[in-house]
């Protein structure tokens, strides 16, 4: 089953990292994946978007018009990409930064105050991991266990506290998604 996810926000919010982590975790369990980043010349603050496609078979076109899941970490990206979400698709948004009211009624919406949750965990950088956890919990495109294993491998060379922080962020995201659904 081919499933596409768009991560979006501003440069510095960990958009690309979240996309790569999802792609890597799916690749590690033998799925076909494509990860395609799109960003401007800015290092921070500009628009950041990446598209991850996961499939059992070969992925032909990595360029798609509509996505199954959309993750928005700021207002600008919500406005820009909400229209690209398929009918019946899932929108996960950061309610700390997306100030618009969602007008579409043909999609599922999970609204999380991820910046607040990240601050509670003690590090604002893990907002993207919380979103990733929510995505895994709400969609099943990747199992939370596979994602956790992949994250452990990714941060293997870091201090244990960093690994624990990221796993905790993932768990928080999962819980938040379950609470909403």
């Amino acid at each position: 089953m081919k499933k596409s996810t768009v991560f979006s926000g501003s440069g510095g919010q960990g958009i690309m990292s979240a996309g790569i982590m999802l792609a890597q975790a799916a690749a590690e369990i033998g799925k076909s994946v494509t990860y395609l980043p799109e960003y401007g010349p800015e290092q921070r603050g500009g628009s950041a978007k990446c598209t991850v496609i996961i499939n059992d078979d070969e992925i032909i076109s990595p360029l798609i018009k509509k996505c199954d899941n959309l993750v928005c970490l700021n207002e600008q990206s919500y406005k820009k990409f909400c229209g690209q979400l398929k009918e019946g698709g899932l929108l996960i948004l950061n309610s700390n930064r997306v100030t618009s009211t969602v007008e579409r009624t043909d999609i599922k919406v999970i609204s999380l105050a991820v910046d607040d949750i990240a601050v509670e965990l003690g590090n604002t950088k893990v907002a993207n991991i919380i979103m990733l956890g929510a995505l895994a919990g709400a969609t099943g495109i990747i199992s939370p266990d596979d994602l956790a294993e992949s994250i452990k491998r990714k941060f293997a060379s870091k201090k244990q506290a960093i690994v624990d922080l990221n796993l905790k962020a993932l768990e928080k995201g999962l819980e938040a998604a379950k609470a909403v659904l």
Binding site: I20, G40, S61, P62, L63, K65
Partner: protein, 357 residues
């Protein structure tokens, strides 16, 4: 070997290292920066040399020197930088030096945009620099194909004693996909020892190619030999993917990322009963002339050239083979704007059902 998830530019750089490339000189330009970035740490690990030159002109000239010393050498850039390297590439071809040149193309002309485009087809296949030389040009559509083509490119370059081009668009440079990396080859310096400083391996007389000045009668002879080389590429080295040509009434011609998007559209159209096929050139030079020339034009109603370039640049090469036996339609975006699966589907369907010019 197990597959790994890699970024396009990095996969291509690693493939070159595994093919025995031990010298890289480059200069930054988006969207190929990850190639020199990767090489800057990877080359020292394998006993190779990485140089960030002070300019494109300097870096291609360093490749010229390293290749003359018998080292498998590479440079990379994007359209505007390739323009600057063109003088050096002409010199490489003139002095019969092998090298790999990768172009990760972006929107143009001029400084253009940093987003992906395919507007360097003319540049790469017709007149990269002065003097009328030609180079083999490979255009991968997937990362695995890019890795495999880059890995084999040095063999072609050394066989022909001519630089080889690999043309990727910015999408393929930035995308991450699973790739199986080939075996590491240790460079055989006996085979490539001093291409030009002493003699060519298959010639008894010392080579004199390092001097870029030839007597006129030698230059003519060399150019004639290059003409023969061009013919032999067309006979022996064409690589092309052909899909559904046995029943196709409309044939899409597309390469690189455009071919992948168009293929998705083609498969959807075929599900709806439209007899659409595809010719995907893997070598842009030599161009797969026979694939187009030998189509059954009693059945084929139209050729659809799909490119990230406006005006479409492959159109002329297609037209030379179609010879007015079917209309040729162009579809594409330009300047760094992309098309996606559904847009390509809509555009191709419109052409087939007669709604397009």
């Amino acid at each position: 070997m197990a597959k790994v998830l890699m970024k396009g530019c990095e996969a291509v750089a690693e493939a070159a290292v595994r093919a025995g490339c031990r010298f890289f000189a480059g200069y930054p330009i988006t969207p190929q920066n990850e190639i020199p970035e990767y090489m800057s740490s990877r080359m020292p690990e394998v006993g190779g040399v990485f140089v960030q030159g002070e300019s494109e002109v300097a870096s291609v000239s360093m490749v010229y020197g390293a290749s003359a010393a018998g080292v498998r050498s590479m440079t990379s850039s994007s359209g505007p930088g390739i323009s600057l390297k063109s003088e050096g590439i002409s010199y490489l071809s003139s002095t019969k030096l092998p090298a790999l040149i990768v172009n990760v193309s972006r929107g143009g002309p001029g400084l253009g945009s940093i987003q992906p485009a395919q507007c360097d087809y003319y540049q790469m296949t017709k007149a990269l620099g002065h003097g009328g030389f030609r180079l083999m040009c490979f255009a991968p559509a997937t990362l695995q194909e890019a890795v495999d083509l880059v890995y084999n490119s040095f063999d072609y370059a050394e066989r022909d004693r001519n630089p080889v081009l690999v043309l990727m668009d910015g999408c393929l440079g930035a995308i991450m996909e699973m790739v199986e990396l080939p075996e590491m080859v240790e460079p055989d310096r006996k085979k490539t020892k001093a291409w030009n400083m002493s003699r060519f391996p298959d010639e008894k007389r010392p080579g004199k190619g390092l001097s870029p000045v030839y007597p006129e009668f030698v230059l003519e002879k060399e150019n004639a030999a290059r003409g023969q080389l061009l013919k032999s590429w067309e006979e022996n080295d064409v690589q092309v993917e052909e899909l559904f040509l046995e029943d196709a009434e409309y044939v899409i011609v597309a390469y690189g990322i455009s071919a992948r998007v168009a293929k998705e559209a083609m498969l959807k159209l075929r599900e709806e009963g439209f007899k659409v096929g595809m010719i995907r050139p893997i070598t842009l030079l030599p161009f797969p002339k026979k694939s187009l020339r030998n189509l059954d034009y009693n059945r084929v109603k139209g050729i659809i050239d799909v490119e990230l370039a406006i005006p479409a640049q492959m159109h002329d090469d297609i037209a030379l083979e179609v010879m007015e036996r079917a209309p040729i339609y162009d579809y594409g975006r330009s300047g760094g704007m992309l098309f996606n699966d559904e847009e390509a589907y809509d555009a191709i369907k419109k052409i087939i059902t007669g709604g397009a010019q």
